[in-house]
Symmetry: none
DNA sequence: CCGCCTACTGTACTGAAGTACAACCCGGAT
DNA sequence: ATCCGGGTTGTACTTCAGTACAGTAGGCGG
């Protein structure tokens, strides 16, 4: 992993960033940059600021070094604008250190860090709502054991018995047992109806 | 680096690919896939073929494994369509082995391999984002015929094929035909995943 | 110690879902 | 006249989901 340079308003580094990149350095937007460095450049965009506006001036000064936007308040429009302005990645400024490492890996290898959802939206010209959460702890879960809850959620997300078995590292047979018990307790016919209940979509039966 | 699976017309591997991934395996499109494998899947798209058409059927069988398109005759339109259909990367089938390794690294870390030029074009062309989500007539419905839409909605509400058949007053066999066509068009595995999409839940991938 | 519950697994079966291959009808476009 | 796409249906097949019946094992309260 190359050198990481973080550009923030005051040149300070956040703990999460240090955690991901112990050797990271900080700089202020106006600071002179070392021409010889080659690593990634991260740019913090404070709340209320448009990332794209900040990108252009920085880009001119860093040359070909990849630029990644760290947004305090990420937005899809903002991300688009920033990528259009030449950024190589756009992610939440509060992202976990593992995520930052991933982003760095991707960008260092010449990739772009673009969320799948964002790309889909671009391509399709149609958008989808943020994932309506799987209602954890909804009414449906009260009669289920902990293990059954796990299975129910996996089923509701579209996983097959075999996939759930791998995920929980037990046999498919046991998953069937759990699913059977869940259907019984909730009084539904099959896994699809179970998924509707877990996802909070009450449809007449 | 995880296992690499190359899907080609004849299941053969090219030298360049072997060079990049000595342990790579080849398979034909119709071959059964080992459920336990988890690495990347590469799909060779021969000249004259539309990548997007080939993506959907493969995607359904590989579940959440990232899919990368290897195009013998790359085209930007084709790339867009493929990425829209759920591919995680699109590159020249004759790319050097170092490039392939980079692509693999990027995708394995959850990135998308999109050329900078391609993204620029995307942003230039579709400058505006589609309006926020929609409850009715979502993106899923655009590629479906009227009859297929009816069936998709019924499926999404938890109806069985037999019930839908009664409801539309046609045979269960025809419902199966429609459901099959819908799954194919939307690139999903089964009716539960279809219901997630229709209900705007979009979890996997 | 003894039920009782939870988790887990096995064999075997039924039925639903989905696929493969094929065919027919009809209306609109070439 | 011909081609094509949508809708419809058929037979036959494979795979998956779910159920029936049965059994092992650990924890916990009476």
């Amino acid at each position: 992993m190359g050198e990481q340079l973080f550009i923030t308003g005051d040149g300070g580094l956040r703990d999460l960033w240090r955690e991901a990149f112990p050797s990271a350095r900080g700089a202020r937007p106006a600071d002179k940059l070392d021409e010889r460095e080659t690593g990634l450049v991260w740019l913090l965009v404070p709340p209320g600021k448009a990332a794209a506006r900040l990108v252009a001036p920085i880009r001119r000064r860093i040359g070909s070094r990849p630029l990644i936007i760290l947004a305090d308040e990420p937005g899809e429009e903002d991300a688009l604008a920033a990528l259009g302005a030449g950024a190589s990645g756009y992610c939440n400024a509060h992202a976990a250190s593992e995520v930052l490492l991933q982003v760095a890996t991707v960008v260092e290898n010449g990739g772009l860090w673009v969320g799948q959802r964002l790309l889909q939206r671009l391509l399709a010209g149609t958008a989808r709502l943020a994932p309506p959460p799987v209602a954890e702890g909804g009414a449906w879960s009260v009669s289920l054991t902990e293990r059954e809850r796990e299975v129910a959620i996996a089923v509701a997300q579209g996983a097959s018995n075999k996939e759930i078995a791998r995920q929980l590292d037990i046999t498919e047979r046991t998953i069937k047992a759990h699913v059977g018990a869940i259907l019984e307790k909730l009084g539904v016919r099959d896994r699809l109806q179970l998924s509707l209940i877990v996802n909070g979509i009450e449809v007449g039966r």
